[in-house]
Each structure stands twice: as C-alpha cells, then as structure tokens.
C-alpha cells in the first residue's frame, strides 16, 4: 500500500467513526479528534530512522489496511475464563466496545466510579473535559494521535479523595477472530484524587483463531497529591496481534505510582510508559517483564520525566527471549532543571535462551539539573549452567529446572507487585507462558538433533 492509499484508508475509517462517535456534537471533543487526526496525517507512522523507533519496525502496521473491529457477542463463560480472581470490579470490552452483560461493576465502594468511556461522554462529558487528552502527547507520537482521533470507547475510573479500594479494578479487552485485519483504539482515563488508593489491571486477550488485530491503546492516569496508584498492563494476545500501548502518568505532590507491565503475547508489541513526576516528593516504580519466543517483537519504551524536586523513580525490566524473538528496552530519563534532588534508577536484565534471540537495551539520560542521582545498568546472560546442574543433580528434570530458574527470574518482577490478586493472576499466566515457550522451542530442538544425526550418519 502506498503512503497515500494508507492515509485514504485511515481517512475512510475516520470519517465513518466520526459520524457515529459519542459526543460528536461537543466542540471540544470534535476539535480534539480532528486535531489529532490532522497530526497523525502530518506525522505518519514512525520509521526506524526515528531515534525513538530505532529498534522497532512498524511497517507491518503501516502496510496493513485495517477496518474497525465489528461488534461481537461472547458467552459469559468466555469472559469468566479470563477474569482476575479477587477483583473489585471488572469492565469487559469486546472488540473495543463495552459489554455490560459481561462486566461486573456492582459492589464498588462509595466514591469509586467505573464506567464505559463512551457512555460517560454521552452522560457527563464535563467531568471528562478537565483531563481527557490533556496528558498523552500527540505531538511526540503518531500512535497516540491516531488513538485520539478515534477516541470513543474505553474505560473511565474515578476514585474520590481519600477513598481506598483494596482489590484491583480490571479492564478486560477481548478481541475476537474476524475475516479481515481489524483495529481498536482503547482509551482509558484513570483519575485518583488526592490521598486515594487504587489498583487497575488492563488485560489484553484474544479469543478464537488468529486473525490480524491491532490494539492501539492509550491510558491517561492522573494521581493526585499523596495518591497511591498501581497500574498493571498485561499483554497476552495471540502472535498475529499488534499492540501499541501508551501509559501516560501525571503525578501530583507526594503521589506514589507503580506501573507494572507483563508482556507475554502479541507479535509486535510496543509498550510506552511515560510518567511525569510533576509534584514534589513523588515516587514512581516502573516495573516490567517481557517473555518472547518465535518471532515476537517486544519493545519497551520508558520515558521517565522528572519535573519537580525530590522525586524518585525506579525502573526494573526483566526480559526472557527464546527462538528468534527480539526484545527492546529503551530507558529514557529526563530530569528538568527544576527537578533538583532527583533520584532515578534503571536496571534492565535479560536472559537469552537461544542464539537467534536478540535484545537491544539502551539507556538515555538527559539531565538539566545539577544535584541529581541517576544510575543505570543492563545485563544480558544465559541460564546459568552451574545452577541448572545443581538442580538436576538433586533429581529435578532439566526441563523443570529450566522453568524453575526462569520463574525465579520472572518473580523478581512479580515480587514488586503490591496487589496479591494481580500477583497471583500474573504468576499463573507466566507459568502457562513458560510451558508454551517450551513447547514452541522443543520441536525446534528435536529438528536440530535430527539434522545433526543426518550430518553424522
């Protein structure tokens, strides 16, 4: 597809979406969408010449002609099988649309709102205007612009001042198999007012056979003064899925936010995490785990902005890559002039399980203040043969020993997760995924042995 044909296809989608979009009569929202679409047309999809996209080629997305995902009905059991045990509430979106019959939004404590964004745009747009689209930057990122142009469906979470929600709130995004490549643009807004406390899990899942599907998600998370917020992103779509997710965090004074990303599925995944520590004394934990196999491409782009003094940020990302998987960790830290006494730390650890697996890890520090502490470090290694032998020498099978060691490595990240429900959910998924990775790589090894045998014989 030529660049012009690409734009025409997106324009067609845009025109169609605009006709039925919620809040199409609201001038501010109409302008937000139109400006964003204009911005997207101007910028186009990034290329590897762009420094921020050096390691990730999105031409597979640019080339594909997507149509908006169609509505689909799913049985209750489909959603139930994917739910997070012990959640406070769950909002389910199927092919990007709120499915009230699958969601459970009762039993929420007073002061907590969980709603479909589209419904809220119709019902109470004034509430949204203050925050929606104010943080995620379309200037920097064509994917954010594209998402904003199609802004309609997603989730809205509001936690009133001082309210504490113990169990996590789950946003479950399900996509179904279709006969043509489809796109959704999930858009979430999470507002945690001063001194509130909440955990939110965004979980992306495909259902049914593998058809090309593109989730282009943006979440804006606003943490008020002294608010404690945990955000979890779980990507477990099938291997034909494209997933570009942007989490933009705006932190107030002494706010404490944790972003946890767990990338298991998806063929081409870009995970943008962009916290701005805008108030004094804020703390941000940016924690992640990515497990890739086959030809998966998992890119983590961190952009941690220190804009106020006395803030701390800690980044920890662990990657496990097998097959021909390609992982990326790009850790950008920007310390503004005003952000004295910043304490920023970054660690990226990787295990490569095959010769063809690849990791690109890149720290990028831009420091404009003079009294700051910034450290970064990255390691790339293999499973330690010593440790493997030690476990085997006690009777544990090689395959089990490998999984134990990989699980231990993954659990470094899991242990930083505060919510028990989220932790248990994630551990279950990681266990399953390690089994999947093993099953994918096992036949390859068998083939290899055969080949060696042939050469010998």
């Amino acid at each position: 597809m030529t660049a012009v044909a690409q734009l025409e296809s997106w324009l067609e989608n845009f025109t169609e979406a605009e006709r039925s979009a919620p809040g199409r009569a609201l001038p501010w929202l109409k302008k937000l969408r139109e400006d964003a679409f204009a911005r997207f047309c101007e910028a186009g999809f990034p290329t590897t010449k762009d420094e921020d996209w050096r390691f990730t080629n999105v031409s597979a997305i640019a080339r594909t002609q997507f149509r908006s995902a169609r509505p689909a009905k799913l049985a209750k059991s489909e959603a139930a099988a994917r739910r997070v045990e012990g959640a406070a509430a769950q909002i389910v979106l199927v092919n990007g649309r709120h499915a009230p019959e699958l969601s459970s939004l009762k039993n929420l404590p007073k002061g907590v709102t969980v709603a479909s964004l589209a419904e809220l745009i119709d019902r109470d747009p004034a509430t949204l205007e203050k925050h929606l689209g104010r943080y995620a930057s379309q200037e920097r990122d064509a994917f954010v612009a594209l998402n904003t142009a199609f802004l309609a469906e997603g989730a809205y979470i509001h936690v009133a001042r001082g309210v504490v929600v113990d169990a996590p709130i789950v946003l479950l995004y399900l996509t179904t198999e279709e006969d043509a490549p489809t796109v959704t643009h999930p858009r979430n807004l999470i507002v945690a007012e001063d001194e509130s406390q909440v955990a939110v899990i965004e979980d992306y899942v495909s259902i049914g056979g593998e058809s090309v599907a593109f989730s282009n998600a943006v979440t804006e998370l606003v943490a008020g003064e002294n608010a404690h917020v945990q955000h979890y992103l779980i990507e477990r779509e099938h291997l034909k899925a494209f997933n570009v997710s942007t989490l933009r965090i705006e932190q107030g004074r002494s706010a404490n936010v944790a972003s946890h990303s767990v990338l298991l599925g998806g063929g081409l995944v870009r995970n943008n995490v962009h916290p701005v520590l805008a108030g004094e004394g804020g703390e941000c934990l940016i924690n992640g785990l990515f497990l890739g196999t086959g030809r998966q491409h998992l890119d983590n782009y961190m952009h941690v902005e220190h804009a106020a003094p006395h803030c701390g940020s800690r980044q920890f990302y662990n990657g496990i890559l097998d097959g021909q998987a390609h992982g990326v960790f790009h850790g950008r830290i920007v310390v503004h002039k005003a952000a004295q006494k910043t304490d920023a730390k970054q660690t990226n650890r990787n295990l490569l399980l095959s010769d063809d697996a690849q990791i690109d890890t890149k720290p990028q520090l831009e420091i404009y203040a003079d009294d700051v502490k910034c450290t970064h470090g990255a390691t790339i290694g293999q499973i330690e043969e010593n440790a493997l032998f030690y476990l085997q020498s006690r009777g544990i099978s090689e395959s089990e020993a490998r999984k134990l060691l990989l699980m231990a490595f993954a659990e470094e990240c899991v242990d930083r997760m505060h919510s028990t429900a989220a932790r248990e959910h994630v551990v279950r998924l990681i266990r399953g995924h390690l089994l999947f990775m093993e099953s994918v790589s096992a036949p390859a090894k068998g083939e290899l042995e055969e080949r060696v045998m042939e050469e010998v014989g």
């Binding site: 030690y390 009777g395 090689e398 089990e400 470094e412």
Partner: protein, 255 residues
C-alpha cells in the same frame, strides 16, 4: 554385583585429559576416601559421577548397580541414588530451600513409583533432619544457599543428603572451611546415614575428617590416576609425609 564400578575412566575437559584411567570399585556399606593434591582430578571424578555434561568421557565405563551410569542425565543419576555434596554449593536466588528440597524429593519418589509427599508429611521429617544438623529453620525460608556462610552451605548439602537418602553419596571436600564444631555436626549427620545399603565416597585433604568419618579404604589420586590404595592408615601416612612420596613413586612406576 558392586554398587559402583569404575573401569579405566578417561575424562577430558576443554580438550585436556584430566582423568587418565581410573579404576575403582565401591560396595554397598563401604566408605571410601579419596585424597590427593590440588588439581589432581578429585572434583572432576565427583562431577562425572553426578553426570555433569561439561566433562567428556573418552574411554572407560561406570556402572551403578549394574546400570550404565554414563548413559544417565544428572537427574536420572540422582533418581537412581547418586548424590553429590558440592565442593562449592551454588546460590540460586528466587528458589526457596524448602520448596526446592521437597520438589527434588518428589521427583525422586515419582521415579521410584512412590506417591508424592505433601507438605504435611514432609515437614515433620524435614524438621527432624534440621535438628540432626543443628540448622536454624529460618535459613530454610531463604533462597537456595543465598547469603549462607561457607559452613552453612556445607551443612545444607548434608541436610539435602539426609532428606534424599541416596544409595551413593559423594562428598567433595565437605569438611573444607568448617570449624571443629561444624565439622562434628556434619560428620555426625553423615555417620547417621551410614548403613549396609549405602556407600560413601569422601573427598578430602584432611585426615581430621577421617577421625570422625572412618573410611574402609583410602585412595590417593595424583594427576588423574589412583596411585595408591589402602586402609585408613594410609591417610595418616599421607598426613605425615605429604603427597610428595606418592608422586615420586608414580614417577618411578612410569620411568
């Protein structure tokens, strides 16, 4: 049939021949001690028996209860009753001691057609063994050997052995670095496992250990060969004269 029969074992590591024709027979119920200078190949022999695959066997055979040990993977050897107490136990962050040990025991039980042990059955037995080795059970909540002192690591090896109850225990310098109290505890643990069905191969540099774990046979390994074998008095002789004379003897035998 002997429990362990090593015949003309040659082993190469990274292209260098380290073991140059070892013959050794160990019967159930016996304790053999292997002594020898640094770098003579003691640990290499121990690791080959535990089936570490970095060691390349170029010649010879090893059987355990008549089965070809060299055809086994490390976990198979373990399930068949081989246990190696490592000279340098490995620290493995993120895997709990107790969980690991129960998994190992259950893997072995499964291999032998026994039911898995659940935590309820495992714990009382485990506590007994902890008491035997005078180990603080708080250590067991930590990751495998992580942050353990040298002595604690060695005791943990013997604790694992006590839980796994192997047929053939190979102790590679389990006494090195232990003070006399720890040595007594470890030796006590080892002796409690001595039985007519079980054999032990004890690698050490020091006669001191052999005061506590009295061997039936002592072998001297020099430059990849067993140059002398004898009873427990041989250890005393070695302590007195060093290995110099065995090497001279070896040179004499060669020349």
């Amino acid at each position: 049939m002997s429990l362990l029969e090593i015949k003309n074992l040659h082993v190469k590591v990274d292209g260098n021949e380290i073991l140059k024709g070892i013959d050794l027979t160990v019967n159930a119920g016996e304790v053999h001690s292997i002594m020898g200078p640094n770098g003579s190949g003691k640990s290499t022999l121990a690791q080959v028996l535990a089936r570490r695959d970095a060691y390349n066997v170029t010649e010879g055979s090893v059987t355990l209860d008549g089965k070809d040990l060299l055809a086994m993977k490390p976990e198979e050897a373990a399930c068949e009753g081989v246990f190696l107490a490592f000279q340098y136990p490995v620290e493995i962050p993120g895997i709990g001691n107790t969980y690991f040990l129960r998994s190992a025991l259950n893997a072995q039980r499964k291999h032998r057609g026994l039911d898995e042990m659940d935590a309820m059955d495992f714990l009382p037995m485990f506590r007994e063994k902890l008491a035997l080795l005078e180990m603080d059970d708080k250590l067991m909540n930590r990751s495998l050997n992580e942050g353990f002192s040298g002595g604690e690591k060695k005791r943990n090896e013997i604790l694992q052995m006590a839980v796994l109850e192997p047929k053939l225990a190979i102790l590679d310098e389990t006494d090195s670095g232990l003070d006399i109290d720890a040595l007594r505890i470890v030796a006590n643990g080892v002796n409690s496992l001595r039985s007519p069905e079980r054999a032990m191969v004890v690698v050490t540099h020091y006669q001191r250990l052999l005061d506590y774990i009295v061997p039936d046979f002592v072998h001297v390994l020099v430059d990849g060969r067993i140059v002398r074998s004898g009873g427990k008095e041989l250890a005393l002789e070695l302590e007195e004269k060093g290995y110099g004379w065995t090497e001279k003897e070896l040179a004499g035998a060669r020349g």
